[in-house]
């Protein structure tokens, strides 16, 4: 499970951002780009967006809905939600350990006066 996105190589990071964007509900390509920019602060180019969407669709993590006004919305599948949850729990674990270590080292560091 933790390797589900790692196997996507350079598309792993955009994949996580797209899955996160779709966790709010279905979105079309332009709305996904705007949501990922808000989430990460980094713009996601349309070439990378569609290369990643194609991979996520192929792996059954997202699915497309009928096209509306030249825009096709995408939504998370149950499998996509499971993978996203596993990824976020993995990140949460790393953050928890990291913060605990930083807290410990800050407390044990001798103070300079």
């Amino acid at each position: 499970m933790p390797d589900a996105l790692a196997a996507l190589g350079r598309f792993a990071e955009p994949s996580l951002a797209i899955l996160l964007a779709l966790s709010e509900g279905p979105k079309h390509g332009y709305a996904i780009m705007a949501a990922t920019r808000d989430l990460t602060g980094e713009p996601l180019g349309p070439g990378t967006l569609y290369a990643t969407l194609a991979r996520l669709e192929e792996r059954g993590l997202i699915e497309s809905l009928p096209i509306e006004d030249r825009r096709r919305p995408y939504r998370l599948t149950a499998n996509g939600t499971t993978i996203l949850r596993a990824q976020l729990e993995g990140i949460e674990g790393i953050v928890r350990v990291g913060l605990a270590r930083i807290g410990r080292s800050a407390r044990s560091r001798p103070t300079t006066s």
Binding site: L8, G9, H28, G29, G45, A51, R70
Partner: protein
């Protein structure tokens, strides 16, 4: 948006393969019409188009056909050598056997690219270095062999190019084994060793290894086609 800007956006969409455009083209065009075509967007689209051509929805049969051709030419080369056992610098060798190994090396370029694509997006350092060395090496080897066939040059340059190609082939073999493709990786390793082995045994082992690769690629392709319920290799 002006008609000119719309036409410019359409030009970038047309860089993608037809099957891809049928699936995503309309929505991509709509985004480009809304968002415009900044330099960063254009570069991203170019990269995306290359990626779409390299990763078609249904795998291309080209590497399989190329592997079968490379194997057939390599086997024919061994037979030609066996039928005419002469030193490699004797003019008769160039006439009889060299064109066969040139054809084999030419066919190996799409084979190594096709096998590298099997590593997927997380191809790793060995995969990336391997494919670059292999493309450069097989390309240089091809040029050197053609120079030999036209009597321009033959010798250390050919050996150096072949060694680079074999280093790339070996690195791809390591990457394949790392991705649990042990048989295919082992055959790549065997082909690499054969390529730097003494000619008499080396060419025979080279032909055998690439024949093995062709068999594995055919089996992969037929298996993938059966899984999709699509057409088989005729």
């Amino acid at each position: 948006m002006t008609a000119l800007a719309r036409a410019r956006a359409a030009r970038y969409v047309r860089l993608y393969p037809r099957a891809w455009r049928e699936r995503y083209g309309e929505e991509l065009q709509a985004i480009l019409e809304t968002d415009g075509l900044a330099l960063r967007t254009r570069l991203d689209l170019l990269r995306g188009a290359v990626d779409a051509h390299l990763h078609p929805p249904t795998p291309s049969p080209l590497p399989v056909v190329a592997a079968l051709s490379a194997s057939a030419f390599a086997v024919a080369h061994v037979i030609a050598l066996a039928a005419q056992p002469v030193p490699t610098d004797w003019p008769g060798y160039l006439d009889a056997a060299l064109p066969l190994i040139i054809a084999s090396v030419l066919a190996l370029i799409p084979v190594v690219i096709g096998v590298w694509l099997k590593l997927g997006d997380a191809d790793g350092g060995f995969g990336r270095i391997g494919v670059i060395l292999a493309i450069v090496g097989y390309g240089a080897w091809l040029v050197a062999l053609m120079a030999a066939a036209t009597r321009l040059a033959y010798g250390p340059l050919t050996a150096a190019a072949a060694t680079v190609a074999m280093a790339g082939t070996a690195a791809l073999g390591v990457a394949l084994v790392g991705r649990s493709r042990v048989v295919l990786g082992g055959l790549f390793g065997a082909a690499a060793l054969a390529g730097v082995a003494p000619p008499a045994l080396g060419w025979l082992a080279f032909a055998a290894a690439w024949t093995g690769v062709a068999v594995v690629l055919v089996a992969d392709f037929v298996g993938a086609s059966a899984a999709r319920g699509g057409p088989h290799l005729a």
